[in-house]
């Protein structure tokens, strides 16, 4: 039996049936992502001042990914329009670009952004011990400017002993009174002590004990490397979901969004290769299928338009 109303409109709704189907699905998707976004709002409104992280995500990379997703939204609508105008080769070209954009988006997320977070370390200092770490936190400076106090020391975890963490500091903790770090937005990933740390490691490897000790001492002296005592730490972890409510909700929403991107890529791959055979039989039917898949893809883009400023910029 043939499925009715795949091309012609059903008289009562005035639409081909798949379109109603996709919109009902998108309605449920709005509630799914809405639930997650509202939990973000809830967590953020309830956060202690100074404890909601800022500037931990890479803004240029996030902006690039946003542009890529927007471009793919344009190409998918062009793919549909090409089918409507019966330009099959153009359809294939636009579809291929769309898939490529989706793959780049995911590759950047999974290959660069996520791993970068997993290699980043943060230690929240106990409120009673905060003063001991003033040279890394700069809270006197923050109070003078009327800003929320800092509690976290971040950077790259270079070593760990029974009683302390050895952290190669991020710019914000290496230079906490720099006005550029007052309103953390995007803190460049490079750590000011990186080169010196490498010299130290090389010296240590070569067995030059005295030189290594001198270099390490220098790093600590220059505020590039910090010894954080474990007894002063409230909690510490890599930038993974357990680090904070921020990263928990970031990984949940962007992870689910990433799964949607993956789903879209698979659907488009089907329509680019085996599914495209429908064109010979019924081009209008294929155009409708692409319209429906496109509606899903635009929704995925739409979620990202909200997610990008919320996590990266604000």
């Amino acid at each position: 039996m043939e499925i009715p109303y795949t091309v012609t409109a059903r008289p009562d709704t005035g639409l081909y049936s798949a379109k109603i189907g996709i919109w009902l699905f998108l309605a449920s998707e709005v509630m799914l992502f809405g639930g997650l976004f509202s939990s973000y709002v809830f967590l953020r409104m309830g956060a202690t001042p100074g404890l909601w992280p800022h500037g931990l995500l890479n803004v240029p990379v996030g902006t690039m990914n946003t542009a890529i997703l927007i471009l793919s939204s344009v190409t998918v609508v062009m793919a549909w329009a090409s089918l409507k105008m019966r330009k099959f080769n153009m359809y294939r070209l636009y579809m291929a670009i769309t898939i490529l954009c989706g793959i780049i988006f995911l590759a950047v997320k999974l290959g660069y952004e996520y791993p970068d977070k997993f290699h980043h370390f943060g230690a929240y200092i106990k409120p009673e011990a905060v003063e001991k770490y003033e040279r890394y936190l700069g809270n006197e400076h923050m109070a003078k400017k009327g800003l929320a106090p800092r509690y976290e020391i971040t950077g790259h975890l270079e070593g760990e002993t029974e009683d302390h963490f050895l952290v190669l500091l991020d710019p914000i903790n290496a230079n906490p009174t720099d006005p550029a770090n007052d309103r953390p937005h995007f803190i460049p990933r490079g750590r000011p002590g990186e080169a010196q740390w490498q010299t130290f490691e090389a010296a240590e490897k070569a067995g030059k004990k005295e030189e290594a000790e001198k270099l390490e001492h220098e790093l600590i002296e220059k505020n590039l490397l910090a010894e954080v005592k474990k007894e002063d730490v409230r909690w510490a972890s890599a930038f993974e979901p357990k680090h904070s409510s921020f990263f928990a909700v970031y990984f949940t929403i962007t992870g689910l969004h990433g799964l949607h991107v993956l789903g879209g890529i698979l659907i488009f791959l089907y329509f680019l290769f085996p599914g495209a055979a429908l064109y010979k039989k019924n081009p209008e039917h294929l155009a409708n299928r692409i319209e429906v898949a496109g509606l899903f893809w635009h929704f995925v883009d739409l979620v990202w338009i909200f997610a990008f400023p919320i996590f990266y910029l604000l």
């Binding site: 919109w23 809405g34 509202s38 709002v41 937005h185 635009h298 338009i305 909200f306 400023p309 910029l313």
Partner: protein, 115 residues
């Protein structure tokens, strides 16, 4: 049989109309793509401006995002000219979504211990 033939002819004619209609919209699609890219740049730039409080920055960013989403929904998702069935689904969705977000107010308004 003849009925079916007429029907097929109608569909074909309809498709032809559609093609002309779609061709006229290509420029709009490209323009909206451009607007969205510019909107992204604006969002990023605005976040470097201090509007007085974090709350204000968030509201401004959300207004820009909503405008962008409006373009995607209206033009790319064809909501500027859709059938009423779809609008009804969307109105219900928006209503329940607003209720959902209103619940987050409980983070600051405590209805039990309010005096």
């Amino acid at each position: 049989m003849s009925e079916l033939t007429t029907h097929t002819a109608e569909v074909a004619e309809h498709a032809h109309d559609d093609a002309a209609h779609v061709a006229a919209h290509i420029k709009t699609y490209l323009a909206v793509g451009g607007i969205l890219l510019v909107g992204t740049v604006i969002t990023v730039l605005l976040s470097y401006v201090d509007f007085g409080s974090q709350g204000r920055n968030i509201i401004i960013a959300m207004i820009v995002a909503t405008i962008k989403v409006g373009f995607v929904a209206a033009i790319f998702m064809h909501l500027n000219s859709e059938k009423s069935t779809i609008y009804r689904v969307i109105v219900m969705t928006i209503f329940f979504c607003i209720v959902l977000f209103a619940l987050t107010g409980l983070a600051i308004f405590d209805p039990i211990h309010l005096k």
